[in-house]
């Protein structure tokens, strides 16, 4: 099967820019992500990570520039859930809907068979909590529900916005293992974080962003060396030592 753009980069941002009044949330970001890479999208709170991901996912319109996924605008993808799975930082669920119905609602709209809902519930370890209302879930369970939703279409690209937020150590370990498994399965992953420890061990390249600008990008082993850890570089670039 030949698909449009299937040979090109998985994600391509060109001078991506978003203004909110006087605030330039995303300021001319350009980068491409190749198939099978696991990329950390790093920057302090308010750096513009979430905004950039929203632009990428067609939730917001860029002020200028553009972003392509598999060579197309997200809005133009056929069956986007089968190609891109996203977990947004906001944790989007209706508190009085149960976990299974949350996923079924999405599966119906995406024309994904109900059996897949049960599969992803098991995959993230929510099988036994499936009939509980989401309001009774712990933060870690909610994050996993988000991950389950992203996995529904068995997509080749996963976008995770601050997946480590609020997770306890067991949750962080689960996340790390999960990211490694995705990478081992050859998926492309873009994971944003304002914390380094959770992702540094898992990603093979990073994008560092602050004040909407892309400050550094490249493979981890090229940016870091014996004297300079990722943390050194990050703090140097973002000047956030004193914040």
């Amino acid at each position: 099967m030949i698909e449009l753009g299937s040979q090109g980069p998985v994600i391509e941002c060109r001078s991506l820019t978003k203004r909110y009044g006087d605030v330039v949330a995303v300021d001319g970001i350009s980068f491409t992500l190749e198939r099978g890479t696991v990329t950390g999208f790093l920057g302090p709170n308010g750096a513009g990570k979430t905004t950039a991901l929203r632009l990428l996912l067609g939730l917001a319109e860029p002020t200028s520039g553009g972003a392509l996924v598999f060579g197309r605008r997200y809005r133009e993808l056929e069956q986007p859930l089968r190609r891109v799975g996203a977990v947004l930082e906001s944790g989007d669920y209706h508190p009085s809907r149960n976990g299974r119905d949350h996923l079924r609602v999405l599966a119906l709209a995406a024309e994904i068979p109900p059996a897949r809902v049960e599969e992803v519930l098991e995959l993230v370890g929510l099988g036994r909590a499936a009939t509980r209302r989401v309001r009774t879930y712990s933060l870690g369970m909610r994050q996993r529900l988000g991950v389950a939703a992203a996995l529904l279409g068995d997509p080749e690209l996963l976008i995770l916005d601050e997946p480590a937020n609020g997770l306890d150590p067991a949750g962080v370990r689960w996340l790390r293992t999960f990211l490694r498994d995705l990478a081992a399965a050859g998926r492309t992953v873009l994971v944003s974080s304002h914390l380094l420890a959770e992702v540094a061990q898992t990603v093979d390249q990073v994008l560092i962003i602050d004040h909407g600008r892309l400050l550094a990008q490249g493979p981890l082993n090229e940016l870091t060396n014996a004297d300079k850890t990722l943390e050194d570089i990050y703090l140097e670039l973002t000047g956030s030592e004193s914040r």
């Binding site: 929203r54 996912l57 067609g58 939730l59 917001a60 319109e61 997200y74 809005r75 993808l77 986007p80 859930l81 891109v84 996203a86 947004l88 906001s90 944790g91 989007d92 669920y93 209706h94 508190p95 009085s96 809907r97 149960n98 119905d101 949350h102 079924r104 609602v105 999405l106 119906l108 709209a109 995406a110 024309e111 939703a149």
Partner: protein, 243 residues
């Protein structure tokens, strides 16, 4: 599109919102019957016209709760953020709105039938308790049920449109309630000529509770209001960023 409609139906069934709305509607209709049929003097309930008048409150309740349900279908998604995964599945957005309008019309029709049915039952009981002969004919009841349910179906779509336009849940719900039971009744006192053309009044004419407008004119007006609200909400939804 079928998948999107089924998804919207499951959204409605998988929270308790519909149950709460239904119970509130039963309460309102019961209260209205108690206030009117039990409190008004017998001479003011003697004729067919008087008795049809009493049904105004049932028709208004059906239209209002249908509109609340329609509005909630979109404002609850915005409030809880489920609009994000909804739009990730269907980034073109238009099919989501089309499905919400379709499901809104269906559930709105049911709200209308239930409101008028409850009204008819409560009123019949109240009439017989007070020994007032029931002057309503079979064709009166048919018009009340079908006209009231059609008006409620249109109001549900109007609610979807207003919800998509206003987006804030509390403002939308309060606005709809205030319009139905405050603005229109106050207008009846001050500008009766304009009041009879208002969306709630046109519904009363459809249900035969009011005889100011012909069915054709009342229906055209209400369809026009609904189309205007739905279009405004649609355009807003396509244009606005989801944050």
């Amino acid at each position: 599109m079928i998948g999107q409609v089924r998804s919207e139906l499951l959204k409605q069934r998988s929270t308790q919102t519909a149950v709460f709305l239904f119970l509130a509607m039963v309460g309102l209709v019961a209260l209205a019957v108690a206030m009117h049929v039990l409190a008004l003097s017998k001479t003011r309930l003697a004729t067919n016209a008087h008795q049809l008048d009493v049904f105004q409150i049932g028709t208004r309740a059906g239209m209002l709760f249908a509109a609340l349900a329609g509005a909630l279908a979109i404002t609850a998604e915005i409030r809880y953020g489920t609009i994000r995964p909804t739009f990730l599945v269907q980034p073109k957005r238009s099919p989501v709105l089309a499905a919400k309008l379709t499901v809104g019309a269906l559930t709105g029709f049911v709200y209308g039938l239930l409101a008028e049915g409850l009204m008819a039952a409560f009123a019949a009981i109240a009439f017989s308790l007070r020994g007032i002969p029931n002057e309503l004919t079979g064709s009166d009841y048919l018009r009340i049920l079908l006209g009231g349910a059609s008006a409620a179906a249109l109001w549900a779509m109007l609610g979807v449109g207003i919800g998509a336009l206003v987006r804030n849940q509390v403002a939308t719900l309060v606005g709809l309630c205030a319009w139905m039971f405050l603005v229109e009744s106050v207008s009846e006192g001050f500008v009766p000529g304009a009041a009879k053309l208002m969306p709630g009044s046109t519904g009363l004419s459809l249900a035969g509770n009011e005889h100011n407008l012909s069915i054709a004119i009342a229906a055209s007006l209400l369809v026009g209001y609904t189309a205007a609200a739905a279009t405004a909400g649609w355009v807003t939804t396509l244009r606005r960023d989801v944050t």
